[in-house]
Symmetry: C2
Subunit: 404 residues, 2 copies
């Protein structure tokens, strides 16, 4: 399983593009993205559990109810949510794109991201679609990844190559963060493409099974977005024997999918709004996966710990505190805590109590960009990982005046 370039265009038969159409005032910022498969593809998606659901999610859900889609259109700059005519606008986006691509509007995934509660004007989108379609190319991943960015500071894309039944297969994905990130049963916007041949039901099973341990374990700020969505299009052009049941091929696909999603999780968390550090909390020694995940997520969500990590302060009491209020049944007298980074590893707590450690060494470890918080909670053999980021002045700055 090797990492390759190309992102969502790495899989055979996928083209993409991204343009500035005018939803945003800043002309240098792309605001409309498109992904198209040469042929209809199996489609699967998971959506936010927020009761306030973006209009595009409702439209997408109806469109891919038959398990088939061929294109994804996504704008940034406006979430098309909590306004009077969101559904109508999302349907218009589909209809206009369907005409331009000469496909059915029912085969289109629609997504929007940006400010909530303002009407989305169809005019710039309608005007932009011809250029968006004309510019489709197998080199278009960068442009599409830029088109879905909001407060993201870096593009998030990944692709891998692997084999199923002797056939070379690919999965690629793009994602946008970077605030309102606390997925619950689904996540931020992520679009994944693959040329693997797989039945829609198995594709949905793979995706739904994967997210519990990947996107649902990411948190930037505890706010579960209204527009979270992950979609996968699988067009079968790798030529493998179609995956119709569980088995070796399905397991290989799951592993490949997980490689892509874990990489995207790390990118999303590491580029959380204002973040200077990627935090990975790895809980081991659990008897139960729910316990391990609950503890890892509680720690990664603690504002106090996130601020301490920003300050490279080994304030492990906040780790214990977050374990204690997580709601998971943990024997706190058996908890060990260490911090690890490329500069080394240091144990700061054993059996629920502090141990002497070098503050100087701890500082050196915590000044790195990628920090692992290692928590052992007992003798079990279940582990879980959660991803997050530090809490910084820039998070406050970005969100103190997001709309202007």
């Amino acid at each position: 399983m090797k990492q390759i370039s190309g992102g969502i265009c790495a899989a055979k038969g996928f083209k993409a593009n991204g343009i500035h159409c005018g939803i945003r005032k800043n002309r240098t910022k792309k605001d409309l993205a498109l992904i198209v498969s040469d042929i209809p593809a199996a489609a699967a998606a998971v959506y936010t559990t927020n009761l306030v659901k973006g209009a595009p999610l409702t439209v997408t859900k109806a469109h891919i109810a038959d398990g088939i889609a061929q294109a994804v259109i996504c704008n940034s700059g406006n979430a098309n949510t909590c306004n009077a005519n969101g559904i109508e606008i999302a349907e218009q986006m589909s209809d206009l794109l369907a005409q331009a691509l000469n496909i059915s509007p029912k085969d289109i995934v629609v997504a929007s991201t940006g400010v909530i509660g303002q009407p989305l004007d169809i005019t710039p989108i309608a005007a932009g679609i011809p250029a968006l379609v004309a510019g489709l190319s197998t080199d278009g991943c960068d442009a599409a990844a830029e088109g879905i960015m909001t407060t993201d500071t870096v593009k998030k894309e990944i692709a891998i190559e692997f084999e199923i039944g002797g056939k070379t297969c690919h999965i690629g994905g793009i994602a946008k963060g970077s605030g309102m990130i606390h997925p619950n049963m689904a996540t931020m916007l992520v679009f994944i493409t693959t040329d693997v041949a797989i039945a829609p039901a198995m594709l949905q099973k793979a995706l739904s099974g994967d997210i519990a341990g990947t996107f649902n374990m990411v948190s930037v700020d505890g706010d579960t977005s209204t527009n979270d969505m992950v979609t996968v299009l699988a067009n079968g052009m790798a030529g493998n024997a179609p995956i119709e049941t569980e088995g070796e091929d399905f397991a290989t696909f799951m592993k490949a999918l997980n490689t892509v999603t874990v990489n995207l999780c790390r990118m999303i968390a590491g580029d959380g709004e204002g973040a200077t550090k990627l935090l990975e909390c790895i809980v081991s020694g659990a008897d139960d996966l729910t316990v391990a995940r609950t503890v890892a997520k509680s720690v990664i969500c603690s504002s106090l710990l996130k601020a301490a990590m920003f300050g490279a302060d080994a304030n492990w009491g906040r780790v214990l505190c977050a374990i204690g209020y997580s709601g998971a049944p943990v024997n706190v007298d058996r908890v060990d805590v260490s911090f690890r980074s490329p500069k080394g590893e240091i144990t700061v707590c054993r059996n629920g109590a502090g141990v002497a450690f070098s503050e100087e060494k701890a500082k050196e470890i915590l000044l790195e960009r990628n920090i692992e918080i290692l928590i052992s909670i007992g003798d079990g053999n279940v582990t879980a990982t959660a991803w997050g980021c530090d809490l910084t002045y820039d998070y406050v700055k970005i969100n103190g005046d997001y709309r202007t």
Copy 2:
């Protein structure tokens, strides 16, 4: 029911004091507080639900199991939690104070607040107790309120006067915030005194009944502390007929207690770490109290909304978002949202969708220090309030390097 001065010394028969004993390096910051009743008092307490519980809580729970206490000792600068000998040190604090006051150590409430995970040295406490006791006075509330402060920027004290059965009664309280504030079944440190005569069981009933709508509805940062505790001492010196059952007198006492606790909630939230604004989220129109409270607390906890309030940005989409992920069954198409402050009130969302409003007027309203977020969720008549604060640069600064 009128507000008076004197705090915890407003009730008859209570004295207090606070000194710098040397737990903190800064000699101008008091770090040890004492409250004493002239006679043994009915005692009630509620504690954090964090599984990691401070040693002082364990000791206090045992001491007041009989419903009686006479004194409260509390140090700041060290939480005496997650260390090897916390219980032993908390017992030593009790024993030393008991000797100095010539009372039983079993009648002492012990509390600690500050950094978690470091051993608490008994030496400065032992050395300080004689001066602490010698300085007890009915003017000592300010000193005690200062003695329990950590990152608090202002003292938090309140007292009220009221009548029960023709007798003048008093309740007073002090509190410390101001980070790791997200109480759950109990709260930060709050010490309340009253001269009302009330049976211990009724006192506990009053306290437990009150906190669900007061301290448990406060959040500064979502982190439920390990050392949260609220205690009430009631010494009966007002001379009212002892409250042994529910009825008019109990209702009057509950109302008086609630006046004190709501005031302390507002002080704690308004002085949250780094806060520039007190936020009060008032949810009305619910059919069910749990729904109203869940929605109010979810909104007050949203990092995104808190940052928007810091920036005086009327980004009400974040209010809808937080309602949607709260877990409460709300019909989001019926939600109205307004912002209110001394500068006026402005409606920004009706029936789940944005309405046109003056950004200029909204800014003027949100630049005030006290902001109300008014949410109507339907036709019911149940309301709930939650208290919080904005998320600011200073929160990050304070918590980026708390230990040094």
